[in-house]
Symmetry: C2
Subunit: 521 residues, 2 copies
């Protein structure tokens, strides 16, 4: 259903966005750094020690009991997090319990959703869940894109999610936090246990600002659960469960670098670019995701660093065995980790004090007194589409289907240099286009697009253009890249979309940067 | 000056307390767990990343410049913390700078004050500081007790200070945090550097809730300052200074157990009591302060634990070399540390993951969803006076002088068993009396008073009375103890006090449990 395309306004990047989303007034995107929040952070009710068990034991017998004690009722916003990734059993159990309680019209506010949450489509169908505010990957994205979700989806970056909760834009009634280990008081972490996920940082805002907080674990330990990532002092109820996650789907035992020659080429070109332009210098910092190309780029970095005898001050980002190797080899002094992707990452985070936990608050929150993203020298990100103004899309495919979340992507755009290594086309559909289907990141923040047929540098980055001029890098104009793509694939046709809006895309400051339309089916 | 004793009301422990303190309405103490806060936590203004340097470098050239940028003006509340204890150089420099700026009528809100802050009396005299909200140890206590401070002092426990800031009862305009090390972004810790103090937990509330936060350090390190105890995302300005603390006065190189036979006897009796009543069992937990008797009690615990082959699950509290020895010997599984008293404590906190940082939020905040204090099996505390109803005083001497802060004392009263080992008299003045000069802790929370001439158990603790009955412990009625004291010292005369109020004593929930009167001089 989504919502009709009424009362649209043109925002600062020329996109038509709704004035209201799910009946609530929203602010159209006004440009980078233009919208200044007024007002106060969300102020949770003041609790009293007298209302909690003085021995610190907050255990209740089941998730259902915890939900009832927390006063679950129709229309509430229920939050979960995505640390279990595609091995999340808890969120599905949660909504099974809610369904049994007969509660309706909920807003589900996950930090991300995964294909395993296809199970929840039944609850979108029967009115248990009105809509999802969070990424809609895979089946839920398809469901949403086809206009089947009752309310309108809202997609936020990891930092934007923290911002929305902190600012009271989203008021969480009940947060359910799944933890690899926890104590009866609610101190919890993702470092130990069968459902160990590494970090619990995506649940930080939920713990701090939700009305009621439930911690569920399949590994209850005696107080104190050390080290705690979530503080029990924010927790109302704790629940011991048989299973909350599927270990092999939470973290992969083996992260693999891409073997695709095309993607390896992109990664190598990216590293060459960083070398030629002096970004790769002693004491630099970088962030690269867990995707195949990004992983490969980090490996090329490692090679160059060894060669030059330099090291990085820190690497930000999702950790994995390659990054851990760099830390242990001394190529990187610190990993500032936001999400742990494999078992080696968890081991390192557990044992190495230089493998540091971070959170969306420290790294990404735009409504903080600064954050870490801007301190990173270079970040390597993916995109589904880029346009000739360097605007980029990360949530929809060229056919209009909403199949990815934003993750930390928007937040990382504040890095000193943002590089998108992307293939010039995918399945014979150009990636570099006149206009992106959905605009997630404004071109002024995207510095370099690396394709297998050339590297385009944003004209705003005269410094990089100057440095690249003296290199052998295949620098091209972004229009040239687009034309090359069209020469090979033909002019791409626009996706077939209805007027109806199925989702809004928030910018890091809570404004609406674009809207996603229903796909014609 | 303080304030006239007008409009007093009798509170739930029979003390007459003012309806207003410094012109602001306050709530009289209503009994343990009786006062339930309504309303919301303090909500700071929402900042924007756009207003902070994108490279994360928040350095300004001087403390004065930071204060000016933070908009310091008359009547503001300026907070500091007491991690530097009697080696604090920063707070004195701070008010020197404020004096130079000509700002008046400030409220100084330290987490505690020390004799070194005698320097600030000039600023109390000249109207730079109107009054102090925080402990007034030594010279500042004398100054206050003699009615010389313009406004009325307000004393809070460590947990009460967190509560007051969290609840907006005290709104901090500018917080100044001194850190052993910090990076230009404001991430900071007390673990390294010449002014290393161990922990910075007392500044946590200030960082989270103050309008403007300044971090000062004499040891600026490159980003990231790892591990951070204060998060730079809460910090507005950072300042590099020549010296902020005097190392040998911040932490002692050598903590010493009392050699006084009287105090050793009290410590041994305390440990014997815990053994006889079964408190000292495998997996138990305890907290004992850094005072001589408390340290000695912990040593007697250690001896008994070795003998019995048992260990403690955790020890709470200020850490010192004795506690660190217990941790390293395996007698204690975890130290949950709130304040580090010596160099061995800092070393252990730095290197041993089982030496865990805590804060007034985790351990003491009464307006949290529980806290750690209630989970501690036994706590050993001091007192200046105890009455026959087990009410105790920790802030004034029997002559009425306000010479001590509350520290964590009130918060620790929520432990499962509270023991006060105190001499029956000091300087021929009875410690056990008909009524305490200042009531800081209600008798219902105090379980045992251990004196060299007998142990009194609170009649409410029938379980302990029953257990002690079968022991050789010299259990007596508290009236008997009082009479013995009076037999030796004579009936103590009440301190000579004026009507005028010089300070209010807050309970852990923000209500006023007692008032301190001006001493006749």
């Amino acid at each position: 259903m989504g919502q009709p395309a009424d009362n649209l306004v043109k925002n600062a990047v020329g996109r038509y966005v709704p004035e209201k989303v799910n009946g609530k007034t929203v602010i159209p995107y006004q440009g980078v750094g233009r919208y200044k929040p007024e007002g106060q952070k969300h102020a949770p009710a003041i609790p009293s020690y007298a209302d909690y068990p003085s021995n610190g034991d907050k255990r209740v017998s089941s998730l259902k009991e915890a939900l009832e004690k927390a006063g679950i009722s129709d229309g509430m916003t229920i939050s979960t997090h995505h640390h279990f990734r595609n091995g999340d059993v808890l969120a599905n159990q949660l909504f099974d319990a809610i369904y049994e309680l007969g509660v309706k019209n909920l807003v589900w506010f996950p930090s991300a959703s995964f294909p395993c949450h296809e199970h929840l489509i039944r609850y979108l169908e029967d009115g248990t869940i009105d809509h999802i505010e969070g990424s809609m990957n895979g089946p839920l994205g398809k469901y949403t894109s086809e206009g089947k979700m009752k309310g309108t989806g809202v997609l936020r970056s990891h930092g934007g999610r923290y911002q929305a909760v902190q600012d009271g834009e989203v008021k969480i009634d009940i947060a359910v936090i799944g933890a690899g280990c926890a104590d009866p008081f609610g101190n919890s972490s993702g470092l130990y246990g069968p459902s160990a996920s590494g970090l619990l940082g995506f649940a930080l805002a939920d713990s701090q600002y939700a009305d009621k907080v439930i911690v569920a674990t399949d590994n209850m330990v005696e107080f104190p659960c050390i080290p705690w990532q979530i503080q029990g002092n924010y927790v109302d109820y704790t629940v011991e469960m048989d299973q909350i996650g599927i270990p092999e789907k939470i973290v992969s035992g083996t992260t693999r670098i891409t073997r695709s020659p095309d993607r390896l080429l992109l990664a190598e070109m990216t590293a060459d670019f960083c070398e030629a332009t002096g970004i790769l210098r002693d004491g630099f910092s970088f962030q690269s995701g867990a995707g195949g190309t990004s992983l490969a780029a980090a490996e090329f970095f490692a090679g160059k660093m060894r060669e030059k005898g330099i090291k990085a001050r820190f690497a930000r980002g999702g950790s994995n065995k390659y990054l851990v190797n760099m830390l242990e080899e001394g190529l990187v002094e610190y990993i500032l980790d936001g999400q742990t992707f494999d078992l080696e990452g968890i081991r390192s985070m557990r044992d190495n004090p230089n493998h540091v936990w971070t959170s969306p608050f420290t790294s990404y929150n735009y409504h903080g007194k600064g954050n870490f993203a801007g301190m990173v020298d270079v970040v390597i990100l993916g995109a589904t589409e880029v346009d000739v103004h360097f605007n980029a899309n990360v949530v929809t495919h060229s056919d209009g289907y909403l199949l990815h979340g934003i993750g930390g992507w928007q937040n990382c755009l504040f890095s000193k240099t943002v590089i998108l290594p992307v293939p010039l086309f995918r399945d014979r559909i150009p990636v570099v286009k006149d206009a992106v289907t959905t605009l997630c990141g404004p071109g002024e923040l995207i510095d370099v697009v690396v394709t297998e047929r050339g590297i385009a540098i944003n004209p705003r980055r005269t410094d990089l253009i100057e440095k690249a001029r003296h290199s052998r890098l295949p620098v091209k104009n972004i229009e040239e890249l687009k034309e090359e793509a069209e020469k090979i694939c033909g002019k791409p046709s626009a996706p077939e979309l209805e007027d109806e809006l199925v989702a809004a895309i928030k910018w890091v400051d809570g404004t609406v940067i674009d809207a996603v339309r229903k796909v014609k089916v």
